[in-house]
Every structure is written in C-alpha cells, then in structure tokens.
C-alpha cells in the first residue's frame, strides 16, 4: 500500500500539485487519470522519488519515504519496478541484457539462475524468442513488454507505469492492460498507472484518482465512474459522443435495463423497436 498525504509541488510560480492525498491499494491497479498538464506524471515522479515534493508525506507500507536518507531510498527502490512512457530500454543492450541488468546489479545468483529468471519473465510477458533482439528491432508493444519484464524481474512490491498505452494501437493496448492487471494479481503488487486511455480506465481501473489542475477531483473505481456526477470528470472521460453513448449503454447494463451479454445483431433483426 502506498499512502500519500497533502503532496505539494511547484516549479517556480507554477503550482503543479496542490494538497493531493490518496491511498494506492495492494493487489489492485491504481490509476491516476487526468488531462495533459493535470499533474499526474509529476505526482508519480514524486511517489518514486524522481522529484522531491515541496510538502506532504509519502508512505510505503508504513515506512515514510519522504524522510528517508538516500541509502534507505536506494534499498526501497529495489522493490520498485517502473515502466516508462517510452519504455526507457537501454539501446545498446539486447532484450535479454535489458531484463538481466537489474539481476546483474542486485541479485546474488549464478549466471544460469539469472538466465532462467530472465527466460521466465520474458515468457510471462509473451516474448519468447526475442532475447537476442535490440530495442530498435522490436515493435512499440514489444518494447512495453520488455519494459514490464525488466520492471518485474526482481519481484518488486510496487509497480509504476507511466502511460503504458501511449503510442499503441487499441488491441495492443488491451494486451498490455491485461498483462499489467494479471501481473498485479499474480504477484500481489501495488500497481500505480498513469493513463488517459479510457479503455484502461474501464477495464482495469480498480482504484481511480482523477486529477484536475493539480488537485484531487474524484476517486472511485471503474463501476462508480459511470455514475459520477462530477462534470469535470465526465467531460474528460466521456469527451466524445461515442463515449457518451458507451457510458449510457454501460449505465443501462448496470441498472439491468439491457443485458450485458446482449446480441446486438439479434436485437436489430428482431424487429423490436429500439428506443
């Protein structure tokens, strides 16, 4: 569990985070959503210590991260895995070397044990056979999966993902979301995901924090978000007519007015009047 209280962060005169508090729960996909510039990336960077907050506390399972000295932070960081927006793979290393890097640096294992572990995680992210390829030779979706493999190779307790779906097609995005969700459950990790992908919100949003102009605007989960009365949230999440319609359908499903396993072809061909 990661708890943060009253996080504040400014860059010069610009206040980016203003008193943001929330709890990221263990074993769940915790989503931070918001428009570009709402402060979600800064918040995530504060949580992992890449930015120092100007005020507030960050607590990892009862341990205050903000008060820690650099040596203790280094130790805690070995329990953190992070998937970056651009994957941040080391260009000069192969897929296998990228994934093996944290093991080489921190694990007291023999070479054969390391190799076994690398193959295990690459299999887990469905990347068998890509070991010897360089990042430049693989697709965006594969890069993300290598990033995930590298992030989980040391069995971290906390997984941070910064816009894991950016630059991916909807189908690959779903594969990545599903993978992150499965891994979170499998390893009982506290997963924090920054996203503005609506599919992710609806599919894996078990604990959602909506940020607006540096402040916490709304919290809930993917079922509650459908019925949210927050105008700001609704105009962000259901920005297009298509998404508004999808929301309406979801609401009807949730109220039991239409079946969630309905066959649209059958309904359209039945001759019944559809209101």
């Amino acid at each position: 569990m990661i708890e943060f209280k009253n996080i504040k962060k400014s860059f010069g005169e610009k206040v980016v985070l203003n008193d943001v508090s929330h709890i990221m729960e263990t074993g769940k996909c915790n989503l931070i959503i918001g428009t570009s510039g709402s402060g979600k990336t800064v918040l995530q960077k504060c949580l992992v210590g890449l930015f120092e907050p100007d005020g507030g506390e960050i607590i990892y399972d009862g341990t205050n991260f903000t008060d820690m000295d650099s040596e203790h932070r280094k130790l805690l960081r070995q329990q953190i895995g992070m998937l970056f927006q651009g994957s941040a793979l080391f260009d000069s290393m192969t897929v296998e070397q990228n994934v093996m890097f944290p093991l080489d640096m921190f694990a007291k294992m023999s070479n054969s044990e390391k190799q076994k572990r690398v193959n295990e995680v690459l299999d887990r992210v469905n990347l068998e056979g890509a070991n010897k390829k360089f990042p430049a030779e693989i697709s965006g979706g594969m890069k993300k999966r290598v990033g995930i493999a590298r992030a989980i190779v040391l069995n971290p307790k906390y997984l941070f993902c910064d816009e894991p779906n950016s630059g991916l097609d909807p189908q690959t995005s779903m594969v990545i979301d599903k993978l992150i969700h499965e891994i979170t459950k499998e390893f009982n990790m506290t997963t924090v995901i920054n996203t503005h992908d609506m599919n992710s919100v609806m599919e894996i949003g078990e604990n959602i924090l909506y940020m607006f102009e540096g402040q916490k605007e709304w919290t809930g989960n993917n079922e509650e978000i459908i019925f949210s009365k927050s105008e700001k949230l609704n105009s962000f999440i259901f920005a297009s007519k298509f998404l508004q319609d999808a929301k309406d359908m979801r609401m009807l499903e949730a109220k039991g007015i239409i079946a969630d396993d309905r066959d649209m072809d059958e309904m359209l061909n039945s001759g019944e009047e559809i209101k």
């Binding site: 932070r73 280094k74 130790l75 960081r77 970056f84 941040a88 080489d104 640096m105 921190f106």
Partner: protein, 247 residues
C-alpha cells in the same frame, strides 16, 4: 541561472560520484567499456594528428632557422620540446575534447531525454557514480597514455619529415633529440594531460547529464560542452604553464 549555480551543480555532480558501488563487477565492466571507447576508439585520430604535427613542426622550424650558425640538431630539439610540452598534451586533448566530449555529452543527454537515467535511478542505482565516474576514470587512465603515444609519434613524424625533405639526416635528428633533454618536461606534459583528461570528460558529462528537452537540446549541449571544455582546457594550460614552468 548564474555561473555560480552551474558551478555549484557541477561540484555536486562530482561529489555525487563518490559513493559505494552497488556492484563492483558491473562498475568494472562499465569502466573497461569506457576505456575501450575513449582509449582505443581515439587511437587512430591521435596517431594521425601526432605524426602530422611532428612533421609540420620539423619543416616549419627548418624554414625559420635560416642562420648557418645554428646547428641542424636544434631542429630536432625544437621538434622534441614543442611536441612534448605543447602539441602532444594540448593539441591532442583539444581534438579529444571534440571526439570524446561530444560522445559523452550526447550519450548521457540521450539517456536523460529517453528516461534511461530515470530508469536506473528507479532501480536504486546512483547514476552519477555508475554513468559518469567510469567515464572520468577511463579518461584519466587512457588520455595520458594517448598523450605519451602522441609524443612518440609526433617526434617520429618530425624525424620522418626532416629526413624525407632533406632538412637533416636521421643521425643528426637522433643526436639532437638527446641534447639538453629535460625529463621534467615529460612530467609537466603528463600533469597537463591528467588535468585536461578531467576537464574534457567531466564538463561534457555535466552538460549531458543535466540536459533538458529533446534531440535539439542534446545537439546544443554537446556543442556547448566541447566549446566550454576547449576554453577551460586552454585556460588550464596557461595556468599550469605559469605555475610549473616559470621559476
């Protein structure tokens, strides 16, 4: 930002490099990798420019020494001393500032912009120690060696040009080389090369490590790092000459 802010951040970067490595084997591997990149990678260009500066130095010295009173051995002496005192350490390091400096700045800049440095930080690795320290250590080891190679090749180039153009015989050149030789000059050149090695590795590392923006900023910081390194190198050259060669 003022000069003092930049300088303070540079000093903090240097201070930040001195921490206990997370894994000695990985640091050693990185150090050897950098030795190969900086040392072996620059050997070709250093060899070429050394031979030519020695050759040009011999021909130009003979062109200016028109008096029949001055013995031809003097040409070898002048070639030897200019190569050892100035050409090998300073000129070679200015060239290396371009070759190595731009490489270090752009490599670190690219790692910063593509979040690879952040990825290492998240893993719990001290990036200043892991990325910058091996580069500076490798430069401190290999650049003085390159300077020594440059001295030998520069003098050999002078001998080659002197003999080939009929300015003086090989025997005369060899005799001149041994006349009034001061071993201190080599020590002085090595002190300079250590100082320059630190300058041309640490300044580009600073510019690359703290770059902000994208591809354009990486290019700018790489160019700026080479310019600043060259200016600092020449300033250090003057200060060291003033301090170590004036009695």
């Amino acid at each position: 930002m003022t000069f003092f802010t930049y300088f303070g951040r540079y000093l903090l970067m240097i201070k930040g490099m001195f921490t206990k490595p997370e894994n000695y084997k990985m640091y050693w591997k990185e150090f050897m990798h950098q030795c190969n990149d900086i040392g072996i990678g620059s050997l070709g260009i250093v060899s070429i420019i050394s031979v030519f500066i020695g050759a040009v130095s011999a021909v130009q010295t003979s062109y200016q020494l028109v008096s029949p009173i001055i013995p031809p051995e003097t040409i070898a002496q002048i070639v030897r001393d200019t190569v050892i005192l100035e050409f090998a350490p300073t000129l070679v390091c200015i060239v290396l500032a371009g070759v190595i400096g731009s490489k270090i700045a752009s490599e670190l800049g690219n790692m910063r912009v593509s979040e690879q440095i952040d990825a290492l930080e998240i893993m719990g690795i001290n990036t200043k120690a892991y990325l910058i320290m091996p580069k500076i250590a490798a430069a401190l080891l290999t650049i003085p060696l390159l300077v020594v190679i440059s001295m030998v090749l520069g003098i050999w180039g002078g001998r080659l040009a002197g003999v080939a153009s009929g300015i003086l015989s090989a025997d005369t050149f060899d005799r001149g080389l041994l006349l009034n030789f001061l071993p201190y000059n080599v020590t002085f050149a090595l002190i300079k090369s250590y100082t320059f090695a630190f300058i041309i590795s640490s300044i580009p590392a600073y510019y690359g490590y703290y770059v902000k923006g994208g591809a354009l900023e990486i290019g700018r910081s790489s160019t700026k790092s080479v310019v600043v390194s060259c200016v600092m190198l020449l300033f250090a050259d003057y200060v060291l000459t003033q301090v170590l060669l004036t009695h």
